[in-house]
């Protein structure tokens, strides 16, 4: 295990671009020499991803072309300020504003959090935009204990938020899955479809954090 994960190359502006990857339980993000290289035992680890699917598309292929910016904290700010930190946010408010291209659909937000910031990006680059990566250290429960930053894709951020809301409102994981997969079936028109692993893994992380907050709340904040 751990022989393949997310491979990136460094850009001239200091960001990184995803050039390969594989879901194998390894969350390391490795720096490789060029777009045709894969990492080896000597490759530098520049970050850890929040799940081992963070930069994988639902078809199991790496989100090639996505940019990881270790200075980008917009995802962490979104979770800390608009989801976890917003004590007035009800589950109903969330659900009504969490569909595609709405306020809580972080992957389609603009760089300053504006709704539908993806609107003038051509379809061929939209996946790369939705998988843009940023740092989530500073979000309680997401920081890694390693020497490198923890990164998440924009898609992860929205899914962590969805999971958090379910857990924080005491909704069971099974009920959440039932609703989330039901929506997926309705949207895709496939009666047997469920959400992909990339989505589910991020949702689960958020759910577990939210459930801890919920348990703490019903125990009187202890």
């Amino acid at each position: 295990m751990g022989t393949l994960s997310t491979d990136v190359i460094k850009n001239t502006n200091g960001t990184y671009t995803v050039v390969g990857g594989k879901a194998d339980g390894d969350k390391n993000v490795y720096l490789v020499n060029d777009a045709h290289s894969t990492h080896n035992a000597n490759s530098q680890v520049i970050a850890k991803s929040v799940t081992d699917h963070s930069f994988l598309e639902d078809n199991g292929k790496a989100a090639v072309g996505a940019t990881i910016n270790l200075s980008d904290k917009s995802g962490a700010n979104f979770l800390n300020n608009k989801i976890i930190g917003d004590k007035n946010l009800s589950i109903l408010d969330y659900v009504h504003n969490a569909h595609g291209y709405q306020k809580y659909d972080f992957k389609t937000n603009g760089p300053n959090g504006e709704t539908d910031g993806i609107k003038d990006i051509p379809v061929g680059q939209q996946e790369a935009y939705k998988y843009r990566g940023g740092v989530v250290d500073g979000v309680p429960g997401l920081s890694s204990n390693s020497d490198v930053p923890t990164v998440a894709s924009a898609r992860d951020i929205g899914n962590i938020g969805a999971g958090w809301m379910a857990g924080d409102w005491g909704i069971s994981w099974n009920m959440f899955r039932d609703k989330a997969d039901g929506l997926q079936r309705s949207q895709t028109g496939n009666p047997t479809e469920v959400e992909g692993q990339t989505t589910q893994k991020a949702e689960r992380i958020g759910f577990d954090l939210g459930m801890k907050a919920w348990a703490k709340m019903i125990n009187g904040g202890k």
Binding site: G100, Y101, I118, V123, Q125, A128, G182, S186, G189, P191
Partner: protein, 166 residues
């Protein structure tokens, strides 16, 4: 005695079958038909019609027919895909970008509105319609385009988009 057991089992079987059918019919997951008339500020409209058979038709104009279009050029696509459409005001040609080979352009009207693949002349189209902001390509201001997300039943643009299907 055997007859009674048989009839009880039969009743249970029918009850379970009915519950299963009812759950399937009542389920929101059941494939449904939906239609949108997405219109740009320049007056051009596109129909997005998600049919029960799992095919989405993207048709220039407002198409209200109940069967597959036969006299228009149109696009077919699975529900999970996205499509970009560039349709300048005073032209009868539409330039489309399909994000997957499962989406297809169907030409049924040689004299009507033409649908042309963006990728047939990609380099030229990129130079005319896009600019690079340092990280991503974006449509230039003033380009009459519409991005259709079939899964989300959503259209967006630099321009005003309305859904005229009520």
């Amino acid at each position: 005695m055997k007859k009674i057991v048989f009839f009880l089992l039969l009743i249970l079987l029918v009850a379970f079958a009915w519950l299963g059918i009812k759950k399937f019919i009542m389920s929101p997951d059941y494939r449904r038909d939906s239609r949108h008339f997405f219109c740009m500020g320049n007056g051009h409209c596109i129909t997005m019609w998600r049919t029960r058979n799992g095919v989405c038709y993207i048709i220039p104009g407002k198409y209200s027919g109940l069967s597959q279009p036969t006299s228009e050029s149109y696009i077919t696509s699975p529900f999970t895909k996205s499509i970009d459409i560039i349709w300048p005001k005073s032209t009868d040609s539409i330039i489309v970008t399909l994000d997957d080979e499962k989406s297809q352009i169907i030409h049924e009207a040689p004299k009507g509105i033409k649908i042309i693949s963006y990728n047939l002349n990609k380099k030229y189209n990129d130079s005319v319609f896009l600019y690079y902001d340092g990280r991503y390509n974006r449509y230039k201001k003033g380009v009459d385009f519409m991005s259709l997300d079939i899964k989300e039943e959503h259209a967006n643009s630099n321009n005003v988009i309305t859904d005229d299907y009520k």
